[in-house]
Amino acid sequence: MIDKIVQTMAEAMAGVPDGAVVLIGGFGSIGQPNALIDGLIEQGAKDLTVVSNNVGVGRVGLARLLDTGRVRKIMCSYPRTVDPVVFEELYRAGRIELEVLPQGTMAERMRAAGAGIPAFFTPTAVGTRLGAGKEQREFNGRTYLLEHALPGDVALIEAWEGDRWGNLTYRSSARNFNPVMAMAAKLTIAQAQHIVELGTLDPEKVGTPGIYVNRVVHVPYGDPVVT
C-alpha cells in the first residue's frame, strides 16, 4: 500500500543533505510552508541554496531559516518585502549570495526541470542586465535568450488538502509556486492543512497529482497572516 503520509517532522525531513538546492513555495507569506521550514531548521542541513520568490519577512519562516546562517545562496525575484530584516543583515555583511531572476523565468525554469526540458528560449530580460552574457537566438525576427532548467534536490510546499497517494489541492492564491516546485525536485515534501481519505478529493480539483509528491505531513494551523 502506498502511504506518503508521515507522522513526524523528523521523518518528513529525513535525508535532506548538506549543500541541497531547496525550492520553497509561497508568494510572500501565502502558501509558504513555515512548518516544513522549521522542520528543516531542526534537521540541520546546511550550505543550502534556496529558491523562493521572496526572502522572508520578520524572523519567521524563510527569514528564520536564513537567520541560522545555513543558506549559502538565495535565488528569488523580489528580495524587497515589507520587513526583510534578516536577509538584509546577512546580505550587507556579505554572508549570503543573492541571484535575482525574473519571476516568470524562475517559474518556467522549474517547470522545465519537472517536464524534462533542459533549456528554453524566452523573450524576458533580452536587452537587460539580467540577460547579459546569455546565449541569444532569433526566431521569427525577435530575439530570445537561453535559460536552463532549474531542478531542486528538495521542494518544500504547502497544500490545502492531501491524501496518502500525495494528491494535493490548493487554496486560491496560495497555489502560486507550489505546483511547479513539486514537479521540479527529486524529493518533494508537502505540508497540508487537511489529510483526507483516498478517493475523497475531487479528481477535477487536484492541483498536484501524487506522482510528484514523496511525503505529506499534516499541519493544521488555520489561516495565514499577511505580514
Partner: protein, 228 residues
Amino acid sequence: MNDKTMSGQKIAEAAPSYKPWTRREMAARAAADIPEGFYVNLGIGIPVMVADYIPADREVIVHSENGILGMGPAPAPDKIDRWLINASKNYVTLVTGGSYMHHADSFALIRGGHLDLCVLGAFQVAENGDLANWATSDNDTTPAVGGAMDLAAGARQVWVLMEHTTKSGDSRLVRRCTYPLTAPGVVKRVYTNLAVLDVTQEGFVVRDTVPGMTLDALRTVTDAPLRQ
C-alpha cells in the same frame, strides 16, 4: 471683465498655472482608455489603482501574476479571505467568473502574449519606448525585479503610469534611460501627473495635458523632444 479676472490672467501669463493630476486622477485617466473585454495586468503602485476606476458597465478582466485571473477590489474588513492576495501582497477578492492558476501558467499567459495590456510604474521611459522600472543604478544593492521583465516583454501593449519628474525635479521622460532597462522599446503610452503621451516612431507625442498646461511649459519639465 472685472479686476479680479484681469489680475488672474496676468498671473497666468507670467507663469502657466496648472494643477497636476493626483495619483488617483492619473489612474482614472488611464482607466477611461481601457476598452471593454481587455485582459490587463496592473503593476504595483499607482497602476493597481486603475482597477478602482474602470466603469462598472465595462467588463475588463484583471490578472495578478501570483495566479489570479479576474481579480476584484479589496474586500470589506469583515470579508477578508486570508488566502487571497495580489502581487502587492494586499488582500483582494475574486470577481464572478474569476479563476486561479499556478505561477508557471500565470507567466505562460503573460509571456505568451495573451494579455492585451499591462500598466506598469516606472523610473524612466525613453522616447524609443525603453522602460526602466526595476533598479535605480547598476550597483543597486538589492534590485527587485519581480514579474516586471516578463510583463514588459510579454504583454501586447505596455502603458506606464508615473510622476512626470522625480522628487528633485528631474524628468522621468528621457532621450535614453540612464537606469537599468526592464525591456527595450516596449512602452506605447505614458500617463504622468501632467500629461498623456504616446510613444511613436518619432518619439513622444502629447495627447492630453492637465488644464492650463502649455506645450512650452511641458517642455521645460521634459528631458526629451515633444511633438503635438
